[in-house]
């Protein structure tokens, strides 16, 4: 079976200003997502290119280099109508996802008619009622309400219901819970897990929050300045990180556990001298300015993807022979 989604050396170039300070927001990304239900997390800080990568997969941006293949077909060879059936987004801001002038239910109905191509009116209503109940909303109440009458958590459930009505293979969720309060957040995350198990949908979860990523995802890719520095099973990547950047992330993460306080306070972070712009344009490894193990080779040659027991890591430390 071909993989569900394959990114082959994908790069996206952005330009700053008229005379063109060019940099790669996404740089030579290679990811394979197998065709089985899973939650695949793309994690990184702001400016790591994770949202740009999501937009590339959604065809909002076109990559300058490389290919994105959905079941071995280039996504640009799939026509719009078909593409929408395969890949659907859930956005970060629940308040901006729906038109405030119309009832959100209309958007759900349109999705059913236009994307899922269900034309029988009775079936449309039936499917909507079922799906709304499935995501934990009351169908009768939802139909009467406007966007401003819903809470953030409810709107995010509505976005999920809309996506389910389209019945896609892949759902791309860009920071879907970052605007929700901690106490509500877990309910939405549990809903994602349930949908994955019940309906076999693959989620691409984009986040900066490593704790929720650990909780929900099967596989994870860590991004830094446009490159994937490490990817593989999330348990392994987040418990025993290989790349120096992932290690620094894991050590810096403040955890809601007072037993870890002492270790966290004692372990100081080394923050090298660096300029953000330089990190984007450096030829070799982007992490070289901050890395405690930096070698001369790191600055000049980008490290290859190296497989370490199933985890792909881009770091010269793990290169054999001349490492």
């Amino acid at each position: 079976m071909p993989p569900l989604l394959r990114l082959e050396n994908v790069s996206k170039v952005f330009r700053y200003g008229f005379f063109g300070f060019k940099f790669k927001a996404v740089d030579d990304v290679k990811i394979v997502i197998e065709d089985r239900p899973m939650i695949f997390t793309i994690a990184g800080e702001s400016g790591s290119g994770k949202s740009t990568l999501a937009k590339l997969i959604l065809r909002i941006y076109r990559p300058e280099y490389g290919k994105i293949l959905f079941r071995d077909r280039n996504i640009y060879e799939i026509d719009d109508k078909e593409f929408r059936k395969y890949i659907q987004p859930i956005m970060q801001d629940p308040y901006a996802s729906f038109n405030p002038m119309q009832r959100p239910i209309r958007y759900l109905r349109e999705t059913l008619v236009n994307v899922a191509e269900v034309n029988d009116e009775k079936e449309v209503e039936n499917l909507m009622d079922q799906t709304l109940a499935y995501v934990g909303l009351n169908p009768i109440e939802v139909k009467e309400k406007y966007q401003h009458e819903f809470s953030g958590g409810e709107l995010q459930r509505l976005s999920i219901a809309r996506v389910l009505l389209a019945n896609p293979k892949i759902v791309i969720a860009d920071e879907p819970v970052s605007m929700l309060d901690a106490s509500i957040r877990m309910n939405i995350i549990n809903l994602f897990k349930k949908i994955k198990d019940d309906l076999g949908i693959t989620f691409i979860y984009i986040t900066h929050d490593l704790a929720t990523a650990y909780y929900m995802s099967d596989e994870i890719a860590i991004m830094f300045r446009g490159t994937v520095v490490e990817y593989g099973r999330s348990r392994s990547v987040l418990s025993n990180p290989l790349h120096p950047y992932t290690q620094a992330l894991q050590e810096s993460l403040p955890e809601p556990d007072t037993k870890k306080k002492r270790r966290w306070m004692e372990k100081k972070v080394r923050l090298g001298e660096y300029v953000e712009e330089e990190e984007f344009v450096v030829k070799g490894c982007k992490y070289v300015f901050r890395c405690p193990y930096a070698m001369t080779k790191c600055k000049t040659t980008p490290p290859p993807y190296i497989n370490m027991n199933g985890v792909e890591v881009r770091c010269w430390l793990y290169a054999e022979g001349d490492g």
């Binding site: 800080e45 702001s46 809470s151 958590g153 309060d181 901690a182 106490s183 509500i184 957040r185 877990m186 309910n187 939405i188 995350i189 549990n190 900066h208 490593l210 704790a211 929720t212 650990y214 909780y215 987040l238 418990s239 620094a248 992330l249 894991q250 050590e251 810096s252 993460l253 403040p254 955890e255 809601p256 556990d257 007072t258 870890k260 306080k261 966290w264 306070m265 100081k268 972070v269 923050l271 660096y274 300029v275 953000e276």
Partner: protein, 328 residues
């Protein structure tokens, strides 16, 4: 008034209200009393809209309309207490802010004046408060910046020439330069990545240790509370619902809301299923009768719907606002 123990600030029955129109007002802070001790790190936690930011604005005395405040905020100044809310804003500006209390706002990396060099930010505050000339102030600033572990040449830079993390450290350095006895920091590290966050938090706590003053940290990030604070105040719908040493609060939370909040937090290496809380926080324009949490509370009884429970002392230094503990 007698000075008891080591309290640097005592707030008694403080209200913070946003008056939007004669009919509509939002009680963001509703009858809060707290004490801050010398040399401690206090965390204020809660979800968005619980009033945690408004509370520190009131304690700081920064009352921008439509925010109005009532109650007493007694600040300890050399064997005496001043009520911050009863003095004029000019007085606060000249005698309290920067000198006694500093405030690090949200988005602290973006609060520096883009047209002013970093050094001028420092010398302006110094020359105003110490009544010295700008050039003298600049010299003091140069010395000071070195003691903060920053390079002297940042003083010549404009804010845009520095990275976000550096700007945040500058803002912290600015807030600390007159050695205030209290620092309020409102979500100082949101919108920063976790590595920079750690650098900044460690910087803040190191300086707190040196100055032996009081740091009040407001954030919704429970991880930050667990790593930094010694004592925590949890707010819900404008009220304090639990106040406890941080360790106790994480290990054995008492209030049903704190319990739900702490138990819903995912951690690295923890695979047990986590459950969130149903419902939404109440609308503060029209809050529910009785306990503000009762519509979401799994233990809600009749009495909770009718009467607001008082803040009960569960143990020394541990207070809970819940009828579950009133029978003790």
């Amino acid at each position: 008034m007698l000075v008891e123990t080591d309290a640097v600030l005592k707030a008694v029955n403080v209200y913070g209200e946003y008056v939007l129109s004669p009919e509509i007002s939002i009680k963001a802070v509703n009858d809060v009393s707290i004490q801050l001790q010398r040399n401690e790190i206090v965390g204020i936690a809660g979800e968005s809209g619980c009033g945690k930011s408004t509370l520190i604005k009131v304690l700081y005395g920064f009352l921008d309309p439509p925010l109005t405040a009532r109650g007493k905020v007694m600040l300890g100044v050399t064997n005496n207490y001043i009520n911050i809310l009863s003095v004029s804003e000019d007085y606060r500006r000249e005698n309290i802010w920067w000198k006694n209390i500093s405030y690090i706002p949200q988005n602290s990396m973006n609060v520096l004046n883009p047209f002013m060099r970093i050094g001028d930010h420092f010398s302006e505050v110094l020359s105003k408060h110490l009544k010295i000339s700008k050039s003298e102030a600049y010299k003091i600033a140069e010395e000071y910046i070195g003691t903060m572990g920053l390079r002297k040449d940042v003083l010549k830079a404009f804010p845009h020439q520095l990275s976000g993390g550096m700007r945040q450290r500058i803002v912290v350095a600015l807030a600390l330069q007159l050695k205030p006895s209290i620092i309020f920091a409102d979500e100082p590290t949101t919108a920063v990545d976790v590595i920079l966050q750690k650098v900044l938090l460690q910087f803040l706590t190191e300086k707190q240790k040196e100055l032996q003053n009081t740091l009040v940290l407001v954030t919704h990030d429970m991880g930050v509370h667990a790593m930094i604070t010694q004592r925590m105040i949890v707010m819900y719908a404008g009220k304090i619902i639990e106040e406890a040493p941080t360790e106790n609060l994480f290990e054995d939370p008492k209030h049903p809301y704190t319990q739900a909040l702490v138990r819903s937090l995912p951690r690295l290496g923890d695979e047990s299923p986590k459950i969130g809380l149903g419902g939404v926080p109440p609308d503060l324009k029209n809050p529910p009768l009785g306990c503000k949490f009762h519509p979401r509370c799994p233990y809600a009884a009749d009495v909770c719907r009718k009467e607001e429970p008082p803040l009960i002392e569960y143990e020394k230094g541990w207070k809970v606002r819940c009828v579950l503990y009133s029978g003790r």
